[in-house]
Amino acid sequence: MRPRSRWHPWGMLAPSLVLLVAFFIVPIGVAAYESFFSWDLLTPPRFVRTANYRALFGHGELLHVALRTLGYSAIVVTGTMSLGLAMALLVDRPGAFMAFVRASIFSAYVVSWVAVALLWMWMLDGDSGIVGQAIRALRGPGAPVLSVLGEPRWALVALAVVSVWKLAGYAMIIFLAELQSIPRSLLEAAALDGAGAWPRFRHVTMPLLMPTAAFVGTTTLVTSFQAFDVVRIMTQGGPARATELFVYAIYEQIFLDLSVGRASAITVVFFAMLLAIAGLQLRVWRSRDPVVR
């Protein structure tokens, strides 16, 4: 439609565009600019060319952060997707009881990450936590009294499991919506042809769920790649940096080490990796489903 005045469209868009550009586009440029300086927020900034990047890559520090984040994401994505799908298949039944089960599982997605992180810290507590004690019992006598969060080998896995607990309800709800949109007649026709429960799932349900699985997988990947709250609250990146993920590394550089340049350089690398993930996301969605949504 024609606007009534040629200024109307821009008048309506201007507030939104100004704020979005100021808080999402400009900051990326500022981060790129600051990444070439050394600045501690107190003394004047010093231009250092690519020294920040060389230092971060040189020590292998940034590579470790990237690999750690990807490893954490891999557990979160596979755990969330498989658990979400399994639970969706299980609770896709009528009745008030199943509605209650669905709501309990999904509620974790609504509750604050802070509450989830604190609750699990307490549950994993080696001395008196309900899960911590069970883990100690399973490991037999001589097991460390510490919480698994204090063990470099297990801390990151523990954070990933807690994240799966928080996110699985989200995956379940999305799979459920898709399951319920599969026409019953399709499954009944397959049953009439003599297909058992597994072949029906394998050859009818699963192909129809693929686009949804791609959606759940990529959104969970993007979410988990930005994990911060569980790290900050449960481990502060420790023990021995075992849980230092991307966003926490940026946070540490600027607020604990007062190094704006380094923080900006990690931000730039972090953003580049997010763009790569977004590219992957688009490819996956396009190949699975003609409608990008």
Binding site: M1, R2, P3, R4, R6, H8, P9, M12, L13, S16, L17, L19, L20, V21, F23, F24, I25, P27, V30, A31, L41, M87, L90, V91, G95, F97, F100, V101, A103, S104, I105, S107, A108, V110, V111, S112, W113, V114, A115, L118, L119, M121, W122, G129, I130, W165, I174, E188, Q226, R232, I233, I250, I254, F255, S264, F270, L274, A278, V291, R293
Partner: protein, 273 residues
């Protein structure tokens, strides 16, 4: 064919399995609530036993350490301001993008889509520096302004408006309605389900958000509830988990009540397409 009343063996097994799965979520909540009513000796001596009586000491401690009413007020004002602003800004922007023809529309839409790719953790360092320059760190503005517009919300409103027939707008124009009135008085009410979902999801997200209020505040001037409750643990509580869990109950109850009351709207917003 599914018969609701005939309970098959498979159906029964599924119920039992589903019940066990639900326990994985219900037991932690129950333990959180039970812990919050314990006393310190009970936690140290019999950590797994339920409390012998309802002790409100942990809650009294939370209210004594954290100015709960004030902090919750700040959190609510912030979350409502963000959610309301996102809805109010998305309507005219979505209308211009969906219904009006003008030069530069593709570019404007492109900017909004580009912003979808930039999450807050990728912007907080430069935004913090920008706010520090104008002395806005530790103010309500630093918490609200960066989220006053939602790229995703604008995109969703634009998609919803694209489905509204042009005739409705043309008829309103013939009746002499101003563009302002068309956007907020006619199209707004038509999009009510979308806007309610957008508002609620945004409210719940920002009420619970820990990251942004943490990095944008340096004192308790505008400290929000999640940040305060996480601090409760950091202030050397040691084994005093009953206090931390009481804080958790205070923090979670409002969103869980909202979820129970508005489940339908929240679920619709999460689902794609």
């Amino acid at each position: 064919m599914r018969q609701p009343h005939a309970l098959t063996v498979g159906g029964l097994l599924a119920r039992v399995a589903a019940g066990l799965v639900a326990l994985v979520w219900v037991v932690p909540y129950a333990w959180m609530v039970l812990t919050s009513f314990k006393t310190l000796p009970e936690i140290v001596e019999r950590p797994l036993a339920p409390p012998t009586r309802l002790d409100w000491g942990a809650y009294r401690e939370v209210f004594a350490t954290v100015p709960v009413a004030r902090t919750m007020g700040i959190t609510f004002i912030m979350a409502v301001a963000i959610a309301a602003s996102q809805v109010a800004m998305a309507l005219p922007a979505g209308y211009a993008l969906a219904k009006l023809q003008f030069k530069g529309r593709g570019g404007a839409f492109g900017i909004i889509l580009a912003c979808l790719l930039v999450p807050a953790p990728a912007t907080f360092v430069p935004v913090f520096l920008m706010f520090a320059k104008v002395h806005l760190v530790d103010t309500m503005a630093a918490l609200v302004l960066p989220f006053a517009v939602s790229a995703l919300g604008t995109f969703l409103v634009r998609q919803a408006l694209a489905g509204v027939p042009d005739e409705i707008i043309e008829a309103a124009r013939m009746d002499g309605a101003s563009e302002w009135r068309i956007v907020y008085g006619i199209l707004g009410p038509m999009l009510k389900p979308t806007l309610v979902s957008l508002f609620l999801v945004s409210f719940v997200f920002h009420y619970s958000d820990y990251f942004w209020p943490l990095v944008m505040t340096t004192s308790d001037a505008v400290r929000t509830l999640p940040v305060s409750m996480a601090l409760l643990r950091e202030q050397g509580t040691g084994a005093r988990w009953h206090i931390v869990m009481a804080g958790n109950v205070v923090l979670s109850t409002p969103v869980l009540v909202l979820f129970a009351a508005a489940q339908r709207h929240l679920l619709r917003a999460v689902r794609p397409g």
